[in-house]
Each structure stands twice: as C-alpha cells, then as structure tokens.
Symmetry: C2
Subunit: 316 residues, 2 copies
C-alpha cells in the first residue's frame, strides 16, 4: 500500500514506558531515535508531558515529563527530518508546563482524552496550537462508548481547529469490521481533517486492524518497535513498515535496534500476547485486571479469571 | 459471526508436532482431546498418517504415524461427538498404510499437497473416500504459485469427488486482501464444495486472515491451542472460538488446558512471533532458514539474515 499522505508515528518510548514507568536510559532512547530516523519514520513520540503536581520524579522516569533539556541531550548531533511528539493526558498536565514551540525541540503534542473529556481536550489542543505545535486529539477507549456519545464527540471535534483525530482501540477488543465502521464514521464526521489509528494487540489484531484502517483511508499510523506497549502491546513497527510500500522506509535499522535493545528488554519485562490480556480484549475490558495478575509470581486460575469477569447479577 | 455451517478443526498435535517431532505423551494428547471435546470443537487432527518406509520411529513420535491402537488408548472412555482427523502428505505415506474406515477410529484424512501434486492428491483422496473416510485436500504454499497454476489445480479439484479444499498460507505471507481474492477464486472455482482455511502467524495475521476468510464464506477453519505450530505457529483456537458466536463453543476448557499444558510447553519449546519468522513471512519464503537460526544458541545478525534473503544477482 503506497500512499504519500501516510505518516508513521513510533510510540515505543511513550506507550512502552507504561510498562517500565519510562525508566529508559538516555542511551536507549538515543539509539531508538537514530534507528527510527534512519528507517524513515515520520514521528517519534518520546514520552508524556506531565506535571510534577500529579506525578513524582522518584517513581517515574524522565520520559514521563519530557523536559526539553533531556530530549536535547539524546538527540544531540543527529541529522534528521523526523519530528518529535509528546502525549498529554487531560487532567495530568498543566497548560503552563508546555513551553512555547520556539523554546522546544518537540514538534507535536498529542492530547489523549476519553469521549466525555473532549471539550477539555479541544481547549488544551487549541492552547498547544497557539503555542506553535502541531496537535492531535486521541479519543481513547471508544469500544466502550455508546454510538451517540461518539457522534457527539466527533461533532465537537469537527467544529474545532484540531487538524488530526485518532481512532484508538485502547482495549484491543475491536475486530476489522468494527474498525471499518468506525473509520467510516470518523472520516465522514471530520471532513478536512486527518484521521489516525492506534491499536492494541490483545487479540493479535493490532497490525491487521491498522491495515484495515489504511484501506479505509486513515493516514496517520501508530506503531512500536517489536510491538512494545502496555499489556499486549501495539502494532509492531517492523510489520507496518514492511507492509507499506513507500520507498522512504527502510526496515533494516529497525531490525538492528530490535536485536540490540528490544529482544533483550522483552526477556526482562513482559509484553505481547498472553491469555489474561486476550481475555480482557475479548470481553472489551480495561487491561488493568490482566496486568495485575500478569505481575503476580504465579499465574492464577485463568478459567476463574475469565468467569469472574463475565460474572454479574442480571440487571433489568 | 454465527453460521451453523462453520466447522472448527484443531491441529495442535499435528502442526505442533512439527516442532517436537510429535513427541507428545499419551497423557498430553488425552487431555487435549478431552478439552477440545468439552469446548465443542468439531474435529481434532491428532497427527499424520506416514509410512515407516519414509520416517523412523526412533526419530519421530507416534503421532507421526497415528496407529489406531495408539489413538484408541488416548480416547478410551471419553464420550464425544468430536471427529478425529489425520493428515497425509503426498509421497510420505503408502495407500496401504491407511486402514479401511471400519477398522479405524479416524473419521477424516486430509491430504496435503503442492499445486503440482494435485493429481496424486486427488488419487489418494479418492482412495481414502473409497475406504470410507471424509477427505479434504489442502493445497499448500499457494502464495508461491503463479495464478495460472492455481487455476489449473482448482480446475482439477473441481472435477474430483473431494468435497473440501483448503486455502493454505504456509509461509504466513498473505495479507487480508490477498486472502479475500483467493477465497473468492476458490469459492467460484469449486461450486458445491466446502472451502477451508489454514494460516500461519509469521506476520501476526493468522487470526485476522481466518476472520477475513469467514467473512468471505469459508466454513472450515483450522486453529491450534495457544497458536502452537511450526515456526510462528497458527491461528490461536482461543481467539477463534471467542470470535465465533456459536453457542456450541465454550472457551473455558480451552483456557484450562492452555494453562495446564501449553503455557508450560511454550516455556520449553519456542513458537510464535519472532523476527526471523516475520522476515521469511514478509519475503514470502519457506520458514526453514528462520527455523534454522532460531535453533542456534545465539541469534545471528538479523539485518544480515534479511539482507541475505533479499540479495540476488539481477536476472534478466
């Protein structure tokens, strides 16, 4: 699939950081930065912009905050056209923690929100645009939102100046037909805007659903090295770049950095397809219960875990 | 997706046996048999029918041969409607090694062949039908076959009495659009026959491509417990049964047997998504070179592995 409008964003450090609390060494982040640059990736999302008011530096690594001095140190001296992005969660960052673009090496701020926070997200995104950044809004967990509320959020977004809106399958629960229906809805509701896709791999559908989104006309694609990301992880960048026929992409630097950094890391911290994540994906639930049992020394009874999640008093 | 015609076949022991040379204990096979029965799976493929003329019993476990006495021992006393299948490869079994159905607990023989062996496969399949078995022909590695040769093979199959033909993505290299085109081709070329799908997971597309095949009207579906199978493995049964809305399926016995047998086994012998398998899948190559380097003590240079596979003198 070759389409020049397609832009790939790698969020290994940002979404992968949800596993290790963003405790990546400078050397790790620099090597990822260089590999992604060489591979022709369009954007690297290097972490979150968060406020120390809400998160301690003691518990969280520096990529939870993305101070410009930290970023500058790891990108120093590297020639690249790749742009840098950071994510901002509604209610977890103060607008004043985001410096003007003229004082930052970041090019883009992506604002993540739930459907019921979309007004706040638009306000923050407009604030970032006023400061000079490219911005997007990433509407999380839409698999849990009733259609009327999605439509309302999209209607609000259509009236905003935010140029890009992401379809996000936070729970890894959507099948290709659902991705198709949602992609159509987003494209129709948001004329003149770019649509993006961010998937999770609970049902081994992250890559397949990203392909489906591309076929539907979605042009902004999230992926991570070796699929690293919270729980079951994300769409693997190496698969995505192999699928895209754009000659600007080269997977060889990606293979190198996966071998040097990601395979050893995966031997230490766990992500990818596991039955607990599969169960929460199938049941369209937040993966937190699965992450909890995956962190235990011994995996508890999986049948019981499943039955507990489907159990509930019938409610008329 | 609920469609009563859909039949699910589990080939954990048969395709998984390609990893451990069919060295499964009787207890393992019996527990799998019981779990699949309880889960409502339609067929269990318990191994290969092979001739000792071609394979040694010293190197290969009993499920490479599927003697009736061995099968009877592991299924003894279990009440079930589930049918049993064995696979026969062209050139690796003698017709006389297949007993008449009246003397066997097997219900079905699936004949696997390459496109250029289809005449031999039809002859063997007719032989099995004459002996009283259900039969299928599984046309392997079609991603490597030029369209004209696929058409010719399908034309031959259309004139045969064989009631079921499988679309097989042996190298795990096909994308959903290619599955759709092939499914359409098979369905149109084989009126009155059932079509099946067997996928490999090199690009994390085994489950997604199985869903695509279902949407296209394919009704015979292969899967394995926890995706166990050669190289990157197959479509995971637990995902497939969760997707199918047929109330006859129950994933809870599958979760139990995965926890008891498959998770411990996967800690010892490797299958699933790994970069070498991904590379052969992306390049539409047989996974043998990937399996070779995966068996080495230390993974060699993956970029080099990729470059060696794409390298070649330009040939006019």
């Amino acid at each position: 699939m070759y389409r020049p409008e397609i832009k790939v964003l790698d969020c290994t450090i940002r979404d992968g950081g949800l596993i290790n609390k963003w405790q990546f060494s400078d050397e790790f982040v620099r090597k990822v930065f260089i590999a992604l640059s060489k591979a022709g990736v369009d954007y690297m999302e290097i972490g979150y912009k968060s406020s120390e008011k809400y998160f301690s530096r003691h518990e969280n690594g520096k990529w939870k905050f993305c101070d410009d001095d930290d970023i500058k140190r790891v990108i120093d001296g590297v020639e690249t056209d790749m742009k840098l992005s950071a994510m901002a969660d509604i209610g977890r960052v103060e607008p004043e923690d985001i410096p003007p673009k003229s004082q930052s090496v970041l090019h883009m701020i992506r604002v993540a929100c739930y459907a019921n926070q979309v007004d706040k997200a638009i306000t923050l995104a407009h604030h970032c645009m006023d400061k000079g950044y490219e911005t997007t809004i990433n509407l999380m967990a839409v698999s849990k939102v009733i259609e009327r509320d999605i439509d309302e959020a999209l209607n609000d977004l259509s009236k905003s100046d935010v140029p890009t809106v992401y379809l996000v399958d936070s729970f890894g629960s959507l099948y290709s037909e659902q991705i198709r229906a949602l992609a159509k809805k987003y494209i129709e509701a948001l004329p003149g805007k770019q649509i993006g896709i961010h998937t999770h791999n609970n049902q081994q559908l992250a890559f397949a659903n990203t392909i489906e989104a591309i076929i539907c006309g979605i042009n902004r694609l999230d992926a991570t090295l070796y699929g690293m990301g919270r729980g079951a992880g994300n769409c693997p960048l190496e698969l995505l770049l192999s699928f895209l026929k754009n000659p600007k992409f080269d997977i060889r630097p990606i293979l190198e950095v996966i071998q040097e950094l990601l395979i050893p890391l995966k031997a230490k911290i766990e992500w990818g397809y596991h039955i607990p994540y599969m169960i929460t994906g199938v049941l369209n639930e937040h993966p937190r219960s699965a992450m909890k049992i995956m962190a235990e020394k011994e995996l508890p009874d999986l049948r019981q875990f499943y039955e507990d999640l489907i159990d509930g008093e019938p409610l008329d």
